[in-house]
Structure formats: C-alpha cells, structure tokens
Symmetry: D2
Subunit: 422 residues, 4 copies
C-alpha cells in the first residue's frame, strides 16, 4: 500500500499554487533572479521519515532561517547566561524594519531580529575565536542538522555585503553599546555569510525536525543541540519568529516558525515533526505568500497547532492485571510510550489502590520508549513506597529504560527481561 501522506502534500501544494501574488526580494540580483514559480514542501517526522512534494531539492540561500539555529549554537558555546546578557528574548512589538534595542543597554530585543542575530553570531565559538572559526562552526553544525555537507553561496554573500549598510549600522550601534565586542564589519560579514549558506527545502525540514526532537538529528541520532538550547530556540521562534505578526501566527498556525527573505519558511512542532516550504514570492512583510498559506493549511487540516495537543493523561498506562502464580498473587502494571510527568502521573494512579501487603508487584516497562528525569523520579518513588508497604517489586525492563533503579535507600528492585521471568 502506498502511503497517502505524500499524496496529501502534493494536493496541498497544488491548491496553494494558485496564488501568484507577491514577488521575489529584489535588493540583490541573486534573490531577484529566483524563479518565482518554484514551490516545494518537505515534512520530516521526528523519527526521520521524510515526505516531500514539489521543488524540495532546489537550492537557495537560508537567510533569516539561519537565526534560530545560530542562536542554538551560541547558547551552547557561550552559555545561556552570557547569551541572555547580550540578546533578549522578548518580542519587539515593532515593525520588522525597526532596530529594536533596549533603551539603556542597547541589548537587542531578541535573536530573530537582525540586531539580535548579529550579536548572536558574534557569540558563536570560543570567546576569542576568529571570524573564520565562527564560520566553520556554523557550517559544521548546520551540516550536522541537515545531514549533509552545506556550503556558502559566495555570489549571494558578496552581493549582500555590497549593500549591507543597515546591518553595518546595527553592528556599529551594538559596538557602541559594548553589546558587540568584535569589529562591527567582521560581525556583519560573518552574519551575512551565515545567511548565504545554500540549502534545500529538504535540508530545512530536517534541521527543523532536529529542533522538534529536542536536538537529536532524527536520521543520524547525533545530538546536534542540547535540550536547553533547543527549548530556547523554539521558544523565541514561537514568540518572535514572525516579527510583528508573531501573535497572529501563534493563534492561526501555532507552529514555532521562521521565515527567510529568499522564500523559505520552517516550522518545528515539538515532539512531532519539522516542516519546510520554499516559494520566493514574498508579501509586503517579506514572508513567502504560498509558504504562509501552506502552513495555515497544514495547521488547520492536520491539527498541527501547538495549543491543540491531544490529552496525554492515560497515555502512559497500557494495562493492569493480576496473575496467580504458584499461589503467589502477582500484580502486573504495564506501562507504555514516552514516560514524562503526565504519563507517569497517569500510570502511578494504578499503583495507588494497591493495599499494603506482601504481594509481588510487577512494573512492566517493556513497551516504554524512554523515561525522562521526572518520570524516573516518580517511578522509583513508586518502587520505594510499594517496598515500604511490604511488597516485593519486580521491574520488567529488557531495554534498560530505567537503569540503576536505586530507590534512594540503596535498595534495588529485582530487574528481569520478561514477565515470564518473574
């Protein structure tokens, strides 16, 4: 059977192709020369499954879509506190072409505006690193996220530098405030080259999926960004990613997103997927006309709104049954899926009506994919309390999702690979 997903994507692409309004950016010849009819979309699931339709493999410069990824790198390299000291995380509430610095400190309001992105770029790499080192670092990480070797489109970079007055203004301003400590022209050059990295829609969807998974590249399994960096990058995408229309975007689309002037648009739905579109026709705000429409359809048709997550209350529990074995009463509680607070809490409830006694209680983790910190603490606390109530506790954990199950008092439950071994 052929999957219906690519067919759906093709249909949506076709439906959005009707809109011929907008035009490619024209401030440099390289962007103005883009074929306005190119249109592609790519969906990458959090386990690396990829669906595409249209021109998903046409290369273009990444432009502002580089911002959230560069921000995540800076967070790793300079640390969250240092980055926050230089760049804020508040939406500016101002039109996209405002410089938006904080009044007294000159700190850019957020890393999604140019001022913030320039300051962010300068924080990449080691503190006294060279411009070349920063460029190398950006290329390496972007390539790791995309899953292939990326490179800079030199003609785009050169062309952008020749009219980069506004960015030079911003960098000098930041330098005047000591927000920037590198030479202003170095910072702008580095930032412009970062924006000139050549990508495809497929690359961007994979990079977006890498954010959606909390930083792990779905195909290679490599941790490209820390969880904390991912959380910050997605957060600023959600509040500041679409400039002064970010609030409207959140209500209507509800996918943390970032657009670029070359016609790209990405979205990351945490835990679910990354999505990217490419269509160079821009509206008056500099966003891709067809990209916006396609995102709205994806959100509406596919229920991808961040605020519409399905209820997870009972998702952690698979079942509970009692077994009498050699005249022993054995209580088996089967857990499943990803264990985090909500799912663990739901599971815990099935243990709470086990009265004190000397039964054997089996916590079957064989269908659990992962256990995060809080879920681990909760489950071990359950083990400890059942023990205090007099029960023997056995963990079925063939994949060691709950390794080293110390209850906190040095006592460890018995761990087996199968309920048959209980």
């Amino acid at each position: 059977m052929r999957s219906p997903v690519p067919d759906y994507l093709a249909e949506v692409l076709d439906a959005c192709s009707a809109d011929e309004s907008g035009a490619p950016a024209d401030y440099i010849p390289e962007l103005a020369a883009a074929d306005p009819d190119r249109f592609g979309v790519c969906l990458t699931m959090s386990d690396g499954e990829v669906y595409t339709a249209g021109d998903a493999d046409v290369p273009f410069s990444i432009q502002s879509i580089s911002k959230p990824f560069a921000y995540a790198i800076a967070l790793e390299d300079a640390g969250i506190d240092d980055v926050l000291a230089h760049v804020g995380v508040e939406p500016s509430g101002e039109p996209f072409n405002q410089i938006s610095l904080e009044t007294d400190t000159g700190r850019p309001k957020n890393p999604m505006i140019n001022a913030g992105a320039i300051a962010t770029h300068s924080l990449i790499g080691s503190e006294d690193g060279t411009a070349a080192a920063r460029e190398r670092r950006v290329l390496d990480v972007f390539s790791a996220a995309a899953g292939r070797e990326l490179s800079i489109d030199e003609s785009v970079a050169e062309s952008e530098m020749s009219t980069a007055y506004r960015n030079l203004a911003i960098a000098n301003l930041l330098r005047g405030y000591d927000v920037l400590t590198t030479e202003p022209s170095d910072a702008v050059l580095g930032y412009v080259r970062q924006c000139s990295i050549s990508v495809t829609t497929r690359d961007l969807a994979m990079m977006a999926a890498t954010l959606a998974t909390g930083g792990i590249q779905p195909n290679t399994g490599e941790r490209v960004f820390s969880l904390a960096a991912t959380r910050y990058a997605l957060s600023v995408m959600s509040t500041c990613g679409m400039y002064d229309a970010s609030g409207e975007w959140m209500t209507r689309v509800g996918i943390p997103s970032k657009s670029g002037v070359s016609g790209g648009l990405i979205g990351s739905l945490p835990g679910q997927l990354g999505v990217a579109t490419f269509s160079p026709r821009l509206d008056s705000r500099g966003n891709s006309v067809r990209g916006i429409e396609l995102f709205e359809r994806l959100s509406r048709d596919m229920g991808m709104h961040l605020m519409e997550a399905p209820s997870q209350a009972v998702s952690g529990l698979r079942g509970r049954y009692e077994r009498v074995d050699d005249s022993r009463a054995i209580e088996v509680v089967e857990l499943q899926g990803e264990m985090q607070f909500s799912s663990a809490e739901g599971a815990v409830r099935r243990f709470t009506d086990i009265e004190p006694g000397d039964n054997t209680v089996v916590m079957d983790l064989s269908r659990v994919h992962s256990v995060n910190d809080v879920a681990r603490r909760v489950l071990l606390e359950v083990v400890r309390r059942l023990g205090l109530d007099g029960h023997e506790v056995v963990l079925v954990d063939p994949d060691s999702v709950l390794p080293d199950p110390d209850r906190g008092d040095g006592v460890r439950p018995r761990v087996v690979n199968s309920t048959d071994e209980v």
Copy 2:
C-alpha cells in the same frame, strides 16, 4: 500505596516559601489586607485528577486571570472575526502599564492588557445585551469551568470602581475610536466586576485544565469552550500573558500562563494539565513572587515546558502480527492512544509494506481513545487503498472511535467488536 505527587507538591511549596520578598497590591484596601503568607498550589490533570498543597481553598478575587476566559467567551459569542476586528493578538512589547492601542484604529494590541480586556468584556453576550446579561454570562461560564457556582466579591468590586480612573480613561479612549460601542462607564463596571469574581486556587486549576483539554471540563465532561476559542485563548496567554516578560516566561517556563494582581497565577499545558498558585506577595511587575518561582520549578523539575514534548512518532502503533486462520493469512495492526496526524502517520507506515494481494487486513482500534479529523481521513484512506490493493479490511472498533467508516466511495469495511470475530 500513597501517590508521591501531593508529597512532591508539598515539597516544592515548602521550598518556595522561603522567599518573603514582595508585598500584596495596595491600591485598594481589600487587596492590601490579604495575608501575605498564604500560599497554595493546585495541579489538575486533563482527566480531572486534582492534587493540591497549601492554601488551595482560600478565596481571592480573580483579577486579570479572568482575561483569557472572558476572551474565550467573547470568541464564542461574537465570533473570531468580530473579536479580532476589535482586539488584536500581538504582544505589545511595552511595559505593563502602557495602554498599547494600535496607532490609527485604536484597537488594543491584545486581550491580556486592560484595554483589550475591557473591549473584550463588551463583546460578551448578544450584541445588544445588557450589562447584567454580560455579567450573568461571565459568571455562568466561569462557574461551568470551575465546576462550582462562583460569585462576585462585592466589596472588592466597589473598592476597585472608586479608583478606576485609568480604566475609565481607557474605556473612553476606546469609545472615542468606536472600538467600544457600549457606554464607557458600563464597560468598566462590567470589567471590574468580572475581575472581582471570587475564586480559589483549586477553582483556577480546574479552569486552566479546561483550557488544556481543548475546552472540555475534565470532571463534568461539559464542553465549556469551543476548540477554536481555547486555541486562541492559550495562544494569547503564551505570547502576551506575562505582559512585557512574556518572551522570557516562554523560554524559562514554557507554560501558557496568566497572572493576577491579587496573587494568583495559572498555567495550561495543552493536553496535559492545568496548574494554579496563590501567593499575594507581588514583585515590581505585579506578579506573584512565589508563584513565579513555583512555576519555574514545576517546569524544570517536571519537564513541563511546551517546547519539550516527547517524541510522538511511534506512539500511535501498538504492534503488528500475522495470524493464520482457517488457512487465511490475517494481518493485524494494533493502534493505540490518541490518533492525530503524527500518531496516525506512524501507524500508517506499518500498512505501507503490505503488498497487494487478497489477504484479510485487520485494523485493531480497540485501544484507541480518540481519532481527530485528520487521523480519520488518513485511516479511511488506508482502508480505501488496502481495498484497491485487493485486500479485505476489517475494523475492530468496539467503542466506535471511527464511526461510519465510509472510504469515500460508498464502500464500508466490515466492523467487529473483537479480533475474535474476524
């Protein structure tokens, strides 16, 4: 076994009690008289399970926490387009005490600032409704969400009205722009009374959980708000709920929230839970000092950040096995949990490697809780494609989670209650 969750809440509450900074609001005697040491927290899971610690049942006036709920009512009553025509959804980027109207139209930037909340209140009920009717409507819906009959604290309402100069200013301004069509003093009185509704921390957590579930009150099962209204309310909470610190809140806490000057603070984590705290000590921005700290701990310790959702790629699939029955080859694919796009997509993949043939393919939905629109379309498309490939398809759907399974061509698969009936 006793659940560790209440113990955890009590521990967190205790840890946050050390901070004695801040003071109750003092602009009216009723708020100034609040006992500064009151401190409560309540967690309500999306299925209605409630955990509390501390003073979760002390009453206080709801104040600004009424805003997202009143907004959801207005969306229902006046319709999304009409509400958007009167109140925007963009963060203001301005300090909390700014009026923040759009330059030309006078439209308040968002419904979480006072100007937006006053305009929002006036949109509640029928277009030519009375002030009394608006008040009745607010009380009814708030009560339905809280799960008990709420009422107005008359002494708070009266006291607030006597110093409501700034709100009267705003209302007159809005009236001058025709954003408000009711009498300014009526709108302010209605808004002030809305803010004076008496609630407890327990009430607020239940109301927050009602937003988290997409509008369905977890205990009563009543649909209090439409899904669309919930989505809008949660979205504006996420981008505008903490005034000009909303961006920082999203990065650090990542729970759509709203605070009130009486010391309350709520958060709604979509699909998971509602949370509320109460502590009257406010910081310079008018937010509860201990409430903020408690939310930060919940987010950090319990992994409740919106951007840290666990991967849901394979969560829809329980398993797949082949059964030979009366020499017939029967393929059984077991699905589970909430079916939305990501989980459905994961499940679909198990069908895609079924080669064309004349087998019986069983889609076992007996462990599926719900199927949203997109998942329904995807699953029915799978049924249709398997049929076109020559297979007989049987649905096991004892709870009718996929009712009326028309493939789109009039053909319906056989539906049974158990795999035994295949």
Copy 3:
C-alpha cells in the same frame, strides 16, 4: 492720506482666497455648519492700532486658541512652579492626536496639547475653587484681553460634551496619575466650555497683541497678564503651538502661534503686534488652510520673522554734542526709545570716552519711552562712574522714566525737565 496697511491686508486676503481646499471640522454639527468661505484677518499693533480685512467680526468658538491664554492665567493663579509640576513645556515630537504624557509621572508634555490644556484649566483660580469660579475667571481675563465682554456659545459647549470621550479619557488618565486633582468630568466640562467662548478675529488679534506687549492690553493699558506669564505663554506657543509641525512653523513663519479647530489662528510677535485670521477650511492636521497661507505671506512679505529682528545696537543713542555755556563745558548725550540691555549698552559707549574731569555731563532721557531693570542699573552705574571721575551729572527726565536715581551710594544726580534748565 489713507494708510496703505488695510489695503495691503485686503490684497493678501484676496490672494489667499483662491485656495478652496480643506473643509470645516465636522465632529460636531456646530462646527460643520460654519460657512467655509468666511475669511478674515486682523492686525493689532502693540499700541492698539487695529487693521482688518474681510470677515473680522464674524463670531466663532475660540477652541484651542484658548490654550495659551488659559495657561497664562494658570501661571498667575497657581504660580510657575506649581504649573510646571503639573504640565511640562517640551514639544511632544508626536502627532497631534497623541496623548503625550511623560512616562513615569503622567505629566502632560506641554499645555498646548489637550492633556496639558485640561490639566492647565484645573489650575485656574484658587486651589479649592469651584468649576463655576474657574469659568468666571477665564471669561473675565479673556474679556479683559479682548477688550469687550465675551461669553460662551452654549450650543457648541453642549455639542462638544456629548462626544468628549477622548478628553474624558485624558482627564481620567491624569486623575489616575494625580496630575489632576479635580473630578475628571468637571475638568473636561470646564475645558470644553473654555473652548466654546465665542470670539471674533478682531478679539483674537487684540488678545494676541496683549501677549505681544508683555501682558498689557494695548487699548485699556490694563496689565492682564504678568510679564513672566506672557513670556511662558509665548515660549510654549513658539515651541509647541503648531503641534508636530512647530519646528517647520518656526523656520517658515517665525511667529509664536496657535490654531483652533474652528478655523482661527493667532500669532504674537513680541514687541510688535498681534495677528489673527479666521477661515474654517482645515487641512488634514486640523489647521486653517488659508490662515496658514496668510501667515506665511505676512512673515515673508512683512519681514515678521522672530529671527529677523533688526539690529538694535545703536538704537538707544540719539546723539551727543558738546555745549559751552557760561564758559562751562557741557557734554550732552541724548538717549531715545526703549531702554533695555542692547540699547543701553550702545548708549553707554558714548560715555566711555569721556575723560575724567569736572565737566557737566547731561544724560538726556526726554525721548526715552521706558527703561527696564537692566537698563536702569546700567544707566545708574554710568551716573555713578561719571561722578567718581569728577563730573557733575544732570539727568533730563521730564517723564520720570528713571525715577529715584540713586547711584547706590545715596548720591543722586540733579534731575531737570529740559536741557535748558541745565
């Protein structure tokens, strides 16, 4: 011979009548009903001479032109420090429809914007005066300046109050900041009634001339405003009188001015004249189209720009001659005109080349109109120094423009009425 001045005014009026652009204000019926073709101008010299052309005697409501005069009254009644504590003197740099309060204090930026004018009105009269007392005081002073009994156009006042939402907003806002201490609705009513005083172009020119003379009504000789109040009123007219076009007005016209929405426009050229025009056709900023053009012509054609004052260096000296009388050498220095620092300084120089000796030195003040404080000090110092040099000094001062000429050491020069008496 007939004066050419009225003919010139008539010519200018005629030339400006061609422009039929703009329309009367239409937010209340009383203003919308104004005959758009009415056009009048009046020039009142600082000694009370009046020239008019066109509809100089058509009545209309004074509107915002009341602001500088009410400001002058408040300065007198509450004192400069108290008024400055409530209303600033800085141009707002914002469009005319902004509220323009200082961020922290809520102090209106200046008294020419509505917020400042409402606060200013509330400072008129005694601190605990009634609204009626404030109205009486405004009418009395305005009447004294106009030189006839003025009254309120009740239908205008009533109509304005019915749509005064924005002003009510402002007043409530000011009350919230404690900038206003009266009831907001009282302050707005008083301000609206102040704006509804009925005047003619002739009245306004006389009122403007009263400011130009430093506060003395040219015809009655009554001191209507103190010199300090006049200085402040003219200063704010020069920097804030034309809202956000005040800078352009100063460069192009250079006459401290104020316009009103009913079509009036006044200007005061210190020391020279008052001018007023009336034409209800307004431009998009709410200023009289023809009024502006007429002012530009007056400034350009008649050299009335504040920054083009003629050189006054030698204007104080009429002449100096030596007379030999009874074998005595008598030096006579004739002064003339208004004695202020520049003219006095010029005059002093004629005394500085008088060598020490025992001559008689005559300071002839018979053609001097007035002597201000600094000139008095300078001239008395000259008298003292001449005395120390050995000369006898005689003042010719028939009009006592330098009364009580104490040199500072108790010695007084001889004072006579004519040089013949020396």
Copy 4:
C-alpha cells in the same frame, strides 16, 4: 569713564564659579584632560563690540556647536529645499541619545542631533565635492564668521574617530535610507573633523553674533550667511538646540542656543548680540553646568529673553513738525532707526492725518539706519499716496537708505541731503 559691562560680566562669572558640580566629558582622553576650572564668557554686540571675562581665549574643540553653522552652510550650498528633503526641522521629543529618524524616510528629525548633523555635513559644498573640499569649505566659513583663521585639532579628531561607532552606525543607517549619498565612513570622518575645529569663547561669541545680525560678520561687514540661512539656523537652535530640554530652555532662557560636549555654549539674540561661555564641567545631559547658569542669569538680569522684546510701535518715528517757509506750509515727518514693518507702520500713521492739498511734505530719513523690503514698499506707497492727494513730497536721505525711490508709476520724489535744502 570705564564701561560697567565688563565688570558686570566678571561679577556674573564669579557668581557662577561657585558651582563645582559636573565633570568634563570622558569618552576621549582629549576631553577628559580639560581643566575643569576653566571658565570664560564673551558677549559680542551686533555692531562688533566685544566684552569678555575669564578664560575667553582658551582653545577647545567646537563639537556640537558646529552644527548650526554647518547647517547654515549646507542651506547656502545645497539650497533650502534640498536640505529639507534630507534633514527635518522638528524637535525630536526624544532623549539626546536617540537616533531620531522619521519612520518611513529615515530623514533625521533635525540638524541639531547627530544624525541630522552628519547628513547636513554631507550636503556642504558642491554635489560631487570631495571630503577635502567639504572640510575646506567648513573651515573657510567658520573662520570668516570667527574673524580669524581656524584649524582642526588633529589629536581630538583622531581620538574621536577611534570610538565613533555610534556615528558610523548612524551614517550607515542614513546610507541605507539613501538620505546619505556619500560613503558613511567619509561622512563621519568629515563630521568628526568639523567637530574638532579649535575655537575660543571669543571666537564662538563672534560666530554667534554673525547669526544674530542676519549673517553679516559684525567686524568685517562680510556677509557670511544669507539672511534665509541665518533664519533657519536660529530657528532650529530655538526649537531643537538644547535636545529634549529645548522647551524648558526657551521658557527659562529664551535665547536660541547650542551646546557642545567640550563645555562650550552659545546663544544668538537676533538683532542684539551673540554670547558664548566655556566651562568643561557637564551635567548628566552633557551641557555645561556653569554655562547654563550663566545664560540663565544673563537672560534674567539683562532681560535678554526672545519673548520680552520691547514695544517697537513708535520706535520708527522721531517727530513731526510744521514749518512755514516763504509762505509755503511745509510738513516735516522725521523717521529714525531701523525701518521694518512695525516701525514703518508707526511712522505711516503720522502721514495719515495729512489732508489732501498742495503742501510740501518732507519725509526726513537722515536718522534712519536701514530700510528693509517691506518698509521700503510701505514708505514708497506713502510717497505715492501723498502725491495723489496733491502734495509735493521731498525725501531727505543723505545716506541713500531709500535709493531709487520710484513710486511705482515712474514718478520720483525730489531727494535732498538736508532739510535746509527743501
């Protein structure tokens, strides 16, 4: 007799020396090294008379005081319209450290802020002139106004360039808006060098006096600036010269002024004088503490407020008398001083009561210093009307202040050198 003026200046200087608050600017070593106790003042009358006290001959860099003079040059070189197209004339209403560009066009709000001054500098000289040519032009004109050859303090210029990030930011921003058409770094270098011109307090007072006289250097009599350029320069000094305290300055001091970060402060009182002070101790706004106090004293003690000009209504008329000569009735009207509209209007009145007849009417201009355009037109119209009334008109005009007295109809009155010749 010794003039009391220098003694007065010395007294004022001494009184203001007590205030030791403030400190020299410290952003470059050259300014930080200034002796904080230096204090000088210079008063230059509109006819070139100079009074000084204190350190009037200590050199320092002109800094922002160069702005109004450079603006006057640009107005001459590029024309008023072109300059206005690039730089506005409105006060910004913003703190001194704001960039203050117009939202859409990027046009700096006024030429007294850095953005405006940089744009202004680039408009000096011919359109395609070199940076060197602009520098030469600035030095030439400044020298002509100061009355001596000025030069650039190279160490100040060099030091300023090394930290000119903010100005480079501004220039790049302006270049991005096409407000600046030269290379940003060229414009900044030129502007910085303009600010580094070395002057003394004496120089500045003479330059200020050159503006006060309408552009004519008082000593050399050279027209350094056109009257129009002077009018614009003084106007923007009056509305924007003291940054966001310009309104307060106008009310309290009332002298069009400009301050510089090196401690200089100038004022130009049109028609009267130029004044300059020097004291490097700056307040938090970057203005000279003692300079401000001295200006306030000068304004208060010496009545130098722009809005306190003495009445000029009768200043144009010296007297009128009748003479019977050879049985002819001869009416003599003596005029005096500077003839502009107000003085001419006052004089005209003495002619208006001359009944038609065939007398000889003498207009005695022998004590008139100058006649501006409007006064010339008025006086010639008087001559024409008297002629039409039947009178013979004779002008006494020994200095040809009313040359070529064509009445407009080809008829010219008889002109003589003395009333004796009538």
